[in-house]
């Protein structure tokens, strides 16, 4: 049934697909995971801290982002980020933000919400006695978090954080909607230029599957090792 299909199109465009396309996707996933992980941890710590007002603001932000489709958020941020930049820096014109930076900011701000939920669960899984003990030795709230609670919470949550990274990796494909050339965008461009939708989309599916499946196997392996370690 593949008689009139041309799978050679994949070989011809392979370097574009993998270097330009997958390179963008991986770089975006990697950086967004790092930044969203940091921001998400900060959000979680503040949310659980005894300071006034801020935790409520964070809850509001988390609920806001979680109730919106990622596609809509991508549109929002792509069009809005330059104005936010202008507002933050007090510049006289919107700050020009390239496609990559815009996507990175979007995924950082959005995924931070999901990472913060995981970190919150992680922090709450550490018995309150530890925090009390840390405070008793004279550490401040932030210090106790930094040196006692977070390292353990982070270690416990590694599998969940990695699983969320796999989700993020898949979600980056949605930048397709604003014509940014990620892996799927590259496949789509070749598909449309050469009229080879079937070949390119099947290829994209196979590549995504192999990468995500391998990664999730790795996560499961880590999880099992984690369980033994405890």
């Amino acid at each position: 049934m593949f008689a009139n299909f041309d799978f050679d199109v994949i070989r011809r465009s392979l370097s574009y697909l993998l270097i330009d396309g997958m390179g963008f996707t991986l770089l975006l996933t990697g950086l967004a995971t790092l930044l969203a992980g940091i921001l998400g941890t900060i959000l979680a710590v503040i949310r659980l801290s005894p300071v006034p007002v801020l935790p409520r603001l964070i809850i509001g932000y988390v609920e806001f982002v979680r109730s919106l489709p990622l596609v809509l958020l991508i549109f929002w941020f792509y069009f809005l980020v330059p104005y936010i930049g202008q507002w933050l820096t007090g510049a006289e014109r919107p700050i020009a933000v390239g496609a990559f930076s815009s996507a990175l900011i979007t995924f950082t701000l959005v995924e931070a919400v999901y990472f913060s939920e995981i970190m919150r669960a992680g922090i709450q899984s550490i018995s309150r006695g530890q925090l009390a003990a840390a405070r008793a030795v004279g550490l401040g709230y932030m210090q106790s978090m930094r040196y006692v609670v977070l390292p353990q919470a982070f270690r416990n949550m590694v599998p969940l954080l990695l699983t969320q990274t796999i989700v993020l990796f898949q979600d980056t494909s949605l930048v397709y909607v604003v014509s940014i050339t990620d892996f799927l965008g590259a496949a789509g461009k070749v598909a449309q230029r050469d009229g080879r939708l079937v070949e390119m989309y099947l290829f994209a599916a196979v590549v995504y599957f192999i990468m995500c499946f391998a990664a999730s196997m790795l996560v499961r392996h880590l999880q099992r090792r984690n369980e033994f370690a405890r």
Partner: protein
């Protein structure tokens, strides 16, 4: 704030006379001077205006014009080096991305009309084209009435989809209008029989057909949804200094033999990636548009007499 545009015009006038100093500059020119870079928005499949070649680099008629504008900007600002950044846009993202400063010039196939001028500005028109549809010859669809009750694709964010949606409402055609992300996708919907027709500017349809696997299988309708409308390079609104510079650069180019040469390079000679020839020589209206460059959104003003 009424005074502001006037003031800017004065600045623009002064600019032409005196060497540009950064503190005199406003808007986009100031931004270009400060950042040492200019960002061009390009299209993926607007053949031959702005599209990706074999190496996935944006090329085309509008890209060539934009590079000429870039040269003029560079000369005017007396810059040794001007970095050109490229950012992909689609019909649906180009206007918001222009407004929010992501791109400085949009080099493609954007129709200049009154509606859009409320949000953006256009320089002198570089092409005239009417909105028609492509269908498979085998389906024997003649005229707009022949589309009744069928599924019709058009690219989201274009004037064409607006026209087909309006025609559908006014004439009671009972069409299902399927929005596509870009022109190539819209054409593919016809190629794969998902849509009976794809409504788009006729020049883009000609490009799509020429590049298809089986060019002989398609035809462009005689009926059109609009008069030939002008295409213009898009700029930010309320930026008279930049617009004056771009207008001058394009007017100089269009009136010169070089303008004709660039036109012929894309419309009468083989173009990448497959060496197709579109074979669309300049008609009377186009010659007039080049001889008397104009940024008017009014299709009637381009009719050659």
């Amino acid at each position: 704030m009424r005074v502001k545009p006037l003031l800017l015009w004065v600045v623009a006038g002064a600019l032409a006379a005196s060497p540009a100093a950064a503190e005199d500059l406003t808007g986009t020119l100031k931004k270009i001077k400060e950042t040492g870079s200019i960002t061009l928005g390009y299209r993926e499949s607007s053949v031959p205006f702005s599209y990706l070649d074999d190496n996935q680099k944006p090329v085309g008629y509008a890209m060539d014009i934009c590079y000429k504008i870039v040269d003029a900007v560079k000369a005017d600002l007396k810059l040794d080096k001007l970095e050109v950044k490229l950012n992909p846009v689609s019909s649906s993202t180009r206007i918001p991305l222009m407004a929010n400063g992501t791109i400085d010039l949009e080099c493609g196939s954007t129709t200049n009309n009154v509606d859009r001028q409320k949000q953006v500005a256009f320089t002198n028109s570089h092409f005239l084209t009417a909105s028609r549809f492509v269908s498979k010859k085998a389906n024997k669809i003649t005229g707009i009435e022949g589309l009744k009750g069928k599924t019709v694709a058009s690219t989201s964010g274009t004037t064409n989809i607006k026209q087909v949606v309006e025609a559908n409402a006014e004439r009671g055609l009972g069409l299902t209008v399927l929005p596509s992300k870009d022109h190539a996708e819209g054409f593919l919907l016809v190629e794969t029989d998902r849509a009976a027709a794809f409504v788009m500017d006729d020049i883009l349809l000609a490009g799509l057909i020429a590049g298809s696997k089986e060019p002989a299988a398609y035809e462009i309708s005689k009926d059109s949804f609009s008069l030939p409308e002008p295409y213009g390079i898009m700029l930010r609104k309320d930026d008279p200094a930049f617009k004056a510079l771009v207008d001058k650069a394009t007017a100089d180019l269009y009136k010169s033999p070089e303008g004709v040469k660039i036109y012929e390079k894309w419309f009468t000679q083989p173009i990448p990636p497959k060496g197709l020839v579109l074979n669309v020589p300049m008609d009377a209206a186009m010659k007039k548009a080049f001889a008397q460059p104009s940024d008017s959104p009014d299709p009637a003003s381009y009719v050659a007499n």
